[in-house]
Symmetry: C2
């Protein structure tokens, strides 16, 4: 285990200089501080070897709201803190912007800020730190992101495969045979995983898995105006979405087109955000128990800190059956729209 002495020896400076540099003392130059941090990371020095005082963890958050109980991140943070604080940890929360990632190396930043471990919420595949996490030394748990073969990094999330299997088998039980899928952009790991889990579920339950039944886009408007009419024209009677907000938008758009939910078309979300109980009609969705995700994230992180190399920790998904799904309609929605000569045929022509 690397000690402060080892860093001092390698750099031929005193122990107190190293200590001051690591703790950001003002009388150490920025250049020296940077050199000390780089050397500390290179030698594998870790804050967790220090015994004094409370240890600090950091929740880095990006692309995710967490302020109010209706926000996705809120309960995850609560669950995490409920475990971490009684165990003697201080939990900081930092919003992670691109500038911070660009100008700081992850391991160095953690050392410098005195963080012994991190939970990342909302990273996308293009984030600079996600690349650094392939070889990082400071324990980190990633919600919905998987990093291969680094024993210091674990992936936590809901069992998406189970969620899609439950959804497709439920819709099949209601008589649906042609089910479409709308997704956010595939630049995120979780969108990729859910996309492939959905088509895997179609195959598993013997339904058509024609790739044309899926559509993805960064913008909701593209999903609505480009992909949704395309799916309807193929005769889908139900649409599953990669997340609740998209499903809610699809629901409203279908209603504006003149389709009744669930009588003419069934719609399913993913996540079970609080809003799902209040949409009209209330939305069938796959629940992620966010408090339990937060609690388990702390377990995974403390395991990594204790040297147990957890790779993946998934929680059971649960299908919340509400009123946005019903038995398959006798007339597919596309036929209903053609008969009523409504907005659909217009937006359809644009494509």
């Amino acid at each position: 285990m690397t000690r402060i002495e080892d860093i001092a020896k390698k750099l031929e400076v005193s122990k107190s200089t190293v200590s001051k540099a690591l703790n950001g003392a003002p009388d150490v130059s920025e250049t020296l501080r940077k050199t000390v941090l780089e050397t500390a990371v290179e030698l594998g020095y870790s804050r967790s070897t220090r015994k004094r005082g409370a240890k600090q963890l950091c929740i880095f958050i990006k692309n995710m709201a967490y302020d109010s109980p209706s926000d996705f991140g809120h309960d995850i943070i609560i669950g995490f803190r409920k475990m971490a604080e009684p165990a003697g940890f201080i939990v900081a929360i930092e919003e992670l912007d691109d500038h911070l990632q660009k100008h700081n190396q992850y391991d160095e930043y953690m050392l410098q800020r005195n963080y012994v471990g991190a939970l990342f919420l909302g990273l996308s595949l293009s984030d600079e730190w996600l690349h650094q996490l392939r070889t990082s030394q400071t324990p980190a748990v990633l919600l919905d992101n998987y990093v291969k073969a680094n024993p210091n990094v674990a992936y936590i999330g809901v069992d998406n495969s189970e969620g899609m299997n439950l959804t497709v088998s439920y819709l099949k039980g209601l008589g649906h045979r042609k089910i479409g899928y709308l997704s956010g952009a595939l630049g995120s790991y979780i969108n990729q995983i859910r996309y492939s889990a959905f088509f895997h579920a179609l195959r598993k339950y013997g339904l058509s898995d024609d790739p044309a039944l899926g559509g993805n886009a960064y913008l909701f408007s593209e999903c609505l105006q480009k992909h949704l009419p395309r799916l309807l024209k193929q005769g889908v009677t139900a649409i599953v979405c990669s997340h609740d907000l998209l499903a809610h938008t699809v629901m409203i758009y279908c209603q504006e087109l003149g389709l009744r939910v669930p009588e003419d078309i069934s719609i399913v979300g993913f996540d079970d955000l609080p809003l799902c109980s209040y949409t009209i009609p209330p939305m069938t969705t796959v629940q992620q128990n966010r408090t339990e995700i937060g609690r388990s994230a702390f377990y995974a992180l403390s395991s990594l800190m204790a040297g147990t190399p957890i790779s993946t920790l998934l929680l059971h998904a649960q299908l919340m059956k509400r009123q946005s799904t019903a038995v398959v309609p006798e007339i597919p929605p596309v036929k209903k729209l053609m008969v009523s000569h409504n907005a659909f045929s217009i937006s359809d022509e644009k494509i």
Copy 2:
């Protein structure tokens, strides 16, 4: 939460009768005891609601040796007990035969024996209790077996996908382009998972994923006499096996045929049993850290008992590079065997 009173009321007997029946008192008839147990399970009564005394967990073990440190199950049990006993649990170990499964319903058996949770090692897909675990109420953690959508059951194991990716990418780096796979019978979940993970890895690294590059059989002899010659004839220069004992047998058989390991053919196992350091040559294999699996299994079980619905907990796999793998040979092993007119051509004719 169901109490003894509820069972007594439903059956119209006294609380003390229910209590005696649950605890196997000799003055309660076998028929009544059975009825009480069935009703207790039906009502969702759980031992974990009882507060008195130490709580008991059971490790059920089947098809797996565990007596000596060189056995696969040994360290898993040690890891589990090291966590469970300080937490105040008594850990029983029971060998699980078909007779026991046939004559006892899982939840009833757990209640009757006063077990509040179970760890299963070595179940196969045909085990009766594996079917019951789809809807069981008593928390259970399964090594290498996955049960969908029961919040009381979790799957724990190593990250097989990661293990196969590490293996294939390492062999590709050594110049191998045609890699074969030999596996135990696909009647086990773990063999299925590794099989598909191997072929997935071939695709991921741009190598041929011809299904003919794989072979599986319950008997080692069938792998050796039927599949191995078939793989060699296709020009494979490396063979990955679903587990170490099979890999060791393949290694010896290749040597008997006149092939040098690793100069003529590379061989990789899976599990990193202690024997891998002592084979000649020492075997490259994917490590499962069994002590950590045991420790994590206890965590998963205690989470389930606390109501956190863990579905899957995987540990990072690590590739242990030893001497059974080397750069791709200039002459594929099959050509070498043809030139030397040895046993291979004979056993080949049998196919």
